[in-house]
Symmetry: C2
Subunit: 241 residues, 2 copies
Amino acid sequence: MTTSKPFPKSFGLLLFPGFEVLDVAGPIEILNCLARREGYDDMNLSVINRTLDPVSPGPVPPHTAGKAFTGNQLYLPTHSLDTAPEIDVLLVPGGFGAFDLNKTNLEDYIDFIRDRYKGSDGHKPLKYLISVCNGAGLLAKSGILDGRRATTNKDFWEEVAAYGPKTHWIAKARWVTDGNIWTTSGVSAGADGVIAWLASLIPKEIVDDVVNGVEWFRAKDADNDPFAEHFGRRDIAPVEA
Amino acid sequence: MTTSKPFPKSFGLLLFPGFEVLDVAGPIEILNCLARREGYDDMNLSVINRTLDPVSPGPVPPHTAGKAFTGNQLYLPTHSLDTAPEIDVLLVPGGFGAFDLNKTNLEDYIDFIRDRYKGSDGHKPLKYLISVCNGAGLLAKSGILDGRRATTNKDFWEEVAAYGPKTHWIAKARWVTDGNIWTTSGVSAGADGVIAWLASLIPKEIVDDVVNGVEWFRAKDADNDPFAEHFGRRDIAPVEA
């Protein structure tokens, strides 16, 4: 196997109540395809919830709309926030459960993201941090997007950007990279971001093979974002501290 | 609310060991967005496995590649094949677990699909049956694609088509409709198929709103299938009985 750069092995997927299904499944599908391939089949994944209870994309109280549909989708975590092992790459989805972060109590998740990104409590710092959709709001609330460029969901653009007043929010972006942090736009953009992230690390032929195998209509360029225009979004510059 | 046709309420999602994550999540994401909307929030979903045990997209023995990654993804069913309630719309994903149907024992799933499609054991027949990727192989093995047009995954085209020798397999197709059966191409095509299916039933404005909300790069036309050409696939005519 020839890789352009050392490829990380240990992945973590953070799930909170009310996560968005495709925010998770887009990146995970791409990574699943890679993990089945010779040379990459030592990749491992930890699925991390607050506790070991099943976690659902269903509505978080007091919301109830769609509960009989979305609430019956239940994912089993492998680890809690307290027991999660060392992680090289942390995936943070968005979802309605992370929409109103001033009312929703996700402080423990936000602390987890900050602690693992920086490395603390004896844990090594993450090699990469990837958010999808308004998962960027969790990163922003943790403070680690301060002074950085990032993007997020285009439908709820200003609402999410408000969690990161010291962040430069790029509107016309399927994904944005700043150092080892990759933020992606809404829902489906997560897969394109992870595809681009892979393409920065492993041979192009393997990435193309995965993309064709899943018959994905790929956005190859980071600024291929028709949804910024659709929703009329503009960049939001950071507020000076 | 104005709908073009009566919209079905009760959805079933069939999960077998080794299902493909995005085969499931593409359609489910689209339907989740609909289920959250006023006028559609009485939709319900049953997640159906052989038993009530958690079910994983991980490799099915004797295969092991990628197990530490894919095998840690665990979905909890709400019903077993035996306890599944009445269903209007059944979603059948594909995945490597349904690849070699002559060796893999999925006969009970195949019987379930046939019985529910036709209606038997006191159950009403399905209103719609939707397959993604090589989920079409399960439909074909059940006999219900005999004499019909269908499509499936473009990467493993001939292998899946072989399960339906009396089916006309359409190569250049993101999805194919024949009566109330919708078969879609590989993995990502499931979302486009479900979007098209919705567009046949509910107002266009609602469908567009969902698609834009999830920032999906949509294939609007059934024959928008660059992957048929990429893999060099051609139609496969049915063998005369």
